[in-house]
């Protein structure tokens, strides 16, 4: 459906014109944003604290330093975090999350406490990646030299209801199509056999391709859908009314605390 809205908007764009405007708005007071991830891989856990800025502001989002951050599991084990760079907190002692475990995030900033709870999700890993040349793209590449597709192979477990977040990297750079695409899916219409599914971007020879798969909770899936609607909204004409993104954080902050097993596949594009 996301694609349809995008096509729709591009059709509208054909018959319309638009220009940059300054919004005459009452800017909101800054709010805390918490971006937190726990995975099963040591070194892949972080908590990032920032704040909102006025819409259209030229400054960078401010980081929040000096917070007290920790993650605890259902067995009562507490992992303390420390600030490694301004606003970016990592575990003092690296740990590996356990699938199915409930994790609780505690953040204390300026005397205010924020908490969130999430169960770490897991699915079987994907099988493999392969590389294929796309002759149509080669004839008229959008970006010079980039006409190789990376194909994904794997199985989707049909007996359970699963939700996924995918991240595609090209030479360690996350692909977001200029900050507009988020690859979150449910398995309602998916079959069990994923064969030669092309990744949504083209690669050049000797590019490094990496795919990260994060199994997520339904709530996290809806968080990413909300985020996508928030970013790609047309102002409420053909899309729904623009709205805030939901959160699983209690205490008045925005953002999300995600807990996933991380599955990674990598390949070098060697035609």
């Amino acid at each position: 459906m996301k694609n349809i809205i995008i096509i729709l908007l591009s059709v509208i764009a054909l018959s319309s014109c638009d220009e940059v405007i300054e919004l005459d708005i009452q800017q909101a007071e800054p709010r805390l944003i918490i971006e937190a991830l726990v995975t099963n891989q040591p070194g892949r856990q972080y908590v990032q604290l920032t704040r909102t800025i006025p819409f259209g502001a030229k400054e960078k989002v401010p980081t929040v330093s000096g917070a007290s951050v920790s993650v605890s599991d259902a067995h009562g084990q507490v992992m303390d975090y420390t600030e490694s760079t301004p606003g970016y907190y990592v575990p003092v002692e690296a740990f590996a999350g356990t699938p199915g475990m409930t994790y609780t995030l505690h953040v204390e900033v300026d005397g205010q406490t924020y908490t969130a709870e999430e169960v770490m999700q897991d699915v079987p890993p994907l099988d493999s990646l392969s590389v294929r040349e796309d002759p149509e793209e080669k004839a008229d590449p959008e970006e010079e030299g980039r006409f190789y597709e990376v194909l994904i192979y794997g199985k989707e477990p049909q007996e359970t209801e699963n939700f996924y977040l995918f991240k595609f990297y090209r030479n360690d750079t996350l692909f977001t199509n200029d900050g507009s695409w988020i690859f979150a899916y449910d398995d309602t219409i998916l079959g069990g056999n994923i064969q030669a599914l092309p990744a949504p971007l083209y690669y050049a020879a000797s590019d490094k391709a990496r795919l990260e798969m994060y199994p997520i909770t339904r709530q996290a899936y809806r968080y990413y859908l909300d985020l996508s609607s928030n970013i790609n909204n047309d102002g409420g004409m053909f899309s729904g009314q623009p709205a805030n993104v939901r959160t699983n954080i209690e205490g008045g902050a925005l953002g999300y605390f995600q807990a996933s097993v991380l599955h990674t596949l990598e390949t070098e594009v060697n035609p």
Binding site: M1, I4, I7, L8, V11, S15, S16, C17, D18, V20, I21, E22, L23, D24, I25, Q26, R31, I33, E35, R51, T52, P54, F55, G56, A57, V61, T176, D178, G179, S180, T188, I189, L190, G191, G192, N193, A196, L197, P198, R218, R222, L225, L227, S229, N230, I231, D234, G235, G236, M237, F238, G240, Q241, P242, A243, N244, V245, R246, L254, Y256
Partner: protein, 789 residues
Amino acid sequence: MKKRAILASLLCLFIIQAGRAQNEPQYTLSGYIKDGSSGEELLYANVLEPTTSAGATTNLYGFYSLTLPAGQYELTFTYLGFQSLTRTITLSADTELNVELTPSSAVLQEVVVTDKAANESVKQVAMSRIALPIEDIKKMPSLMGEPDVIKTIQTLPGVTSAGEGTSAFFVRGGSADQNLVLLDEAPVYDVSHLFGLFSVFNADIIKNAELYKGGIPSKYGGRLSSLLEVTTRDGNAKQFSGSGGIGILAAKGTIEGPIVKDKASFILAGRRSYADLYTRNSEQLDGTAVIFHDLNAKVNWKASNKDRFFLSAYSGRDIWQFDDAFQMDWGNTTTSFRWNHLFSERLFSNLTLIYSDFDYALQDKDAVQGFEWVANQREASLKQDMTFFLNPDITLKFGYQGIYRRFTPGTITPNGGDSIYETTEMQKQFALDHALYAGAEHQVSDRLSLEYGVRYSLFQNIGEGTVYDYAEPGNNGNIEVVDSTVYGNFDIIKSFQNPEPRFGARFMIDDRQSLKLSYNRMVQYVHLVSNSTVPIPFATWSPSSPYLDPQRADQLAVGYFRNLQDNTYEFSAEAYYKKSTDVTDFVDNAQLFFNPHIVTEFRQGESEAYGLELFLRKNKGSLRGFVSYTWSRAEMDVPGLNADRPFPANHDRRHNLNVAMNYDINGRWNVGANFTYATGRPITLPVGQYEFDGYLANYYSERNGYRLPDFHRLDLSATYEPKKNEGRRWNNSFSFGVYNAYNRKNPWTIYTQTKQDDDGNIIGDGTEKEARMVYLFGAMPYFTWNFNF
């Protein structure tokens, strides 16, 4: 209790009247009033007996019935734009009298000044109702020269639009899905072509369009806010004729004629856009094709003076193809079969069988990610409407309607064995919809007339189907199904029933002015599953169900009606208040496609709307047209939305002004102008931004807390009809004009994105955001050639 008492006393009143009527011998005069040139029935034409000022108006089928004491009468038959006809008749038995009126040509127009029917707006009990003859619609300037019923409706008082280029209309604060649009009595679910740039109604086949905004008679129900009744022509019963036109958007043609002269006739009309002829050959839009077409067909057969049959069908479709890889299409199909039967001169019956279908499909032709997605909804219904002309003062209307509905929210079929998808079907839903109604039009005295009745509706959400119980029904994030119930075919899942009282009163202050009052309760059992301001065609409907209550509205309206200068001018002022409960809305960021737990996305709340509508229309002379002004408010209060605070409805626009003028210069040249002004629509704007995982998200505080700048636009048109060659039937005319004459950049919407240059390249490091305002149409000239023979 009070309501019941009022109804009971009204009932007594008409029984007394009925008793009185039987004291002296009375006879009924009845028949059809027709257009003498084509044999087409005239709707709402008048017959008047001047001495007693008894009179009658023809119904939707051109039929009238007038019961009078025995005697000799001089009757006048009138219809706007036709020469009046006077007949002397001696009434000594029930009599059938069919009359044919002659259209008044331009030269004769001044004669029509004596037309009594022009006083209709003051005299009729009905208020909040506007009829639009198609000739008036055709004279309005229009986008790309396509005369458009819906775009004309949007200029009427009490009606707002969400912006130009949309076919959604909002009546008295109601949302777009609260309008019942009937084409020859069959409901049309999506009235838009090209996402709303044009409507599905081909002006060449339409006879009349009438909008009911309030005081809706008990005969109609099912939607909260309005009824738009579009009637098509029957086809020329006297001779073969045809017409056609070529514009910059579409070409169209109509043929019509008698099958058996004066007994049976047909009409067939088609329209097709041809933008795809350009786009297919365009380098830039390689392989993209956008097509829409419409086909209307109707036959009618007058089997006898007592029986008439009509079969009317419509089929229309939009097809969008992108690069041979992706296709989407959608369309409506409607069919209605009607049988008019006169049981007696005083009892008119109409039996209607209706079928209506709306469907859409999306096709991705890729081998791996390809699928076909189809969704539709269908209904079949039977309607029996009876009109009993009890006496000259009282007309009774009663009947039954039963509808079977099937909703198919979506089925996905993979393209082939290599697809990553599997066949998936969202659960179908079914419903039975019944209504019984009875009402009366009752002339109590020379001054006071009433229209009252009640509609009793029963709606049954039926199987087959599975209903889930949720731990928290409103939580779409953590869904926990605790139980489920399976229902078999036609098992009743949930029933709803509602009495819907309707009342209208008209008090004549004098011959030229009247006061009116109306109240109606409306109940809507079907809900559009779309959370956008302008409904997109990829939307289905849902029946009322265990998770969705019927929507209800109560509306009270008062009005002052006055005609000036011997009915040259018609003025009305109406004020309304409408309170609706259980109005359907959706949770923020609702997911309405392929969501098996879609019921968790529904939210229902209240809406409140009120306003004042002023309308001045000039009906005669070379200069004709209208000025309409509306002051209105529409507010929603839906728990769970906007932090439980009330917010302006998406279509809440404080001021609406429309001026439509048409000037006939010399019978050959006709010029028109249309000016529109409206307060900007409410919009939700970001009041902050933040980063999450590299994405730039907006922070919002208040739903619809801001407004787009005001909207205004002037359109101009000119039509030239070369002098008619006597003895030849061929006529043609040329229309040209300009939409948005002074090239106003009217804001359509505002969206936000990562800051980019005009070529779409990110500026800087991609952490800055910008807001952009979208404008749709600059000055757009058009040219159309029309002909008929």
